[in-house]
């Protein structure tokens, strides 16, 4: 069982960047006015940020990283680790992490690599960062996590288009002998790989003329094979089945209860799903912050974006115990429980 704890690495800072352009789901003319109401009320998405074509996830990552490095007062030469996590990389080849390392002006001695994960990406990323840094040689590292999802969603697909927003984030870690352990419970189930999928464009189904053909998949659902397909009911049932046992198992391992954690920051999947999970875990409303209303489902960026947009004052001013859980595409899910203190956190950046 992938439950483990790693000490000696602290979260020093966190920042998030979103595109300047904002769209409202009240203006989504593909569906009826009644459906638009439902999107806002039940799915929970009112506004979303949308990247202009040509803007890459790395641009948003770099914007957050530059501001964060500046506010931390870090010397870039000391950054020895950079991990980029996304499902929307800049190019098929090469990795995006190298491009970011170069554009940020980080030294050649910096380890840089990509991890391909979505909704669970930040939680997995934190585990990779603290695992590598725990050895003590790497003193400073950057975790860059985010997605541009709006570009690959079909306007004529009501099951995806009004859901997603774009965002990317930077989380800074420092080696610190006194830092308390960070706890993880990470899980995977690839049998549901096609529950959220862009079928063409990879090596399995190489891009072809047919990739561009639009097909009807249901009422109000038209897309081609280069656009994201989301099986809402399957993902919903997956989350209701797996998330609460994962959370409870980690709490149990720590001999803790939900009362020991001040905030539970979940991947912002959709409001109905998240509220159902909140009720299943019997969490008070005040303990579960949301960014989905203003930013939509921002894929891998959703947990760090929610921390920045909703908990900024708390994490900058005092010690706080946070419990986060990411779940979705893969299927991949996991929880991280950590105590953070005086985290440097600039307000959400507009790019």
């Amino acid at each position: 069982m992938a439950i483990f704890s790693i000490p000696k690495v602290r979260m020093a800072g966190i920042a998030a960047a979103v595109p300047r352009k904002e769209v409202s789901n009240y203006d989504y003319k593909w569906v009826s006015a009644k459906d638009r109401e439902m999107l806002v009320k039940t799915v929970g998405v009112e506004k979303r940020r949308v990247a202009e074509q040509g803007t890459a996830t790395s641009d948003l990552c770099i914007a957050s990283a530059e501001r964060l490095i500046q506010e931390l007062g870090w010397d870039k030469q000391e950054i020895q680790l950079l991990i980029f996590i996304s499902q929307s990389r800049d190019y098929i080849i090469p990795s995006t992490s190298g491009i970011i390392q170069h554009k940020l002006g980080l030294p050649h001695s910096c380890v840089a690599y990509d991890i391909g994960l979505g909704c669970s990406g930040w939680v997995y990323g934190v585990s990779a960062m603290v695992s590598m840094m725990n050895a003590g040689s790497i003193k400073k590292g950057l975790l860059l996590v985010g997605d541009i999802s709006t570009l690959t969603a079909s306007y004529r697909d009501k099951s995806t288009y009004p859901l997603f927003g774009d965002a990317a984030t930077a989380t800074a870690f420092e080696y610190d002998e006194t830092a308390p352990p960070v706890h993880f419970n990470l899980e995977s189930d690839g049998s549901g790989y096609d529950a959220i999928i862009i079928p063409d464009g990879g090596m399995r189904n190489f891009i072809s003329k047919k990739s561009f053909d639009y097909r009807k998949f249901g009422v109000g659902i038209y897309r081609n094979r280069l656009q994201i397909a989301l099986n809402g009911i399957e993902v919903f049932n997956f989350a209701l089945r797996e998330v609460t046992p994962n959370v409870k198992k980690l709490l149990q391992e720590l001999s803790a209860t939900t009362a020991d954690y001040e905030y539970f920051v979940f991947h912002q999947a959709n409001l109905l799903m998240n509220e159902t999970l909140r009720k299943m875990l019997k969490l008070e409303k005040e303990k579960v912050p949301y960014s989905i209303r203003n930013y939509g489902n921002t894929s891998s960026a959703s947990i760090p974006l929610t921390i920045v947009s909703e908990l900024r004052e708390v994490i900058t001013l005092r010690k706080v115990k946070l419990f986060s859980c990411g779940f979705g595409v893969g299927l991949s899910w996991g929880s991280v429980a950590m105590e953070v203190e005086k985290v440097v956190c600039p307000a959400v950046i507009e790019y």
Binding site: K34, D35, M38, T42, V43, S159, G218, V219, G232, I233, E234, F236, N237, L240, R241, L272, M273, E275, T276, K279, M280
Partner: protein
Amino acid sequence: MTVEDFIKNIESEFEDLEPGKLLPETNFREVFDWNSINALILIAMVKTEYGAAINAEDIQKSKSINDLFEIVKSKV
């Protein structure tokens, strides 16, 4: 658990629904403006109220409220 309570639980989730309009033999697709979000609301209600997981197939093969209720009952 009774079908009457099941109907009450559905009514509390769907504000547009006039109380008393839904009967055990009602074909719920004719009463609801049926869409995938409504299916999710139903799945969420069944999970929180009964601790049972119903899937797309269960909803698809149900015609009446009672059909759905029987499936939920078998899974509790």
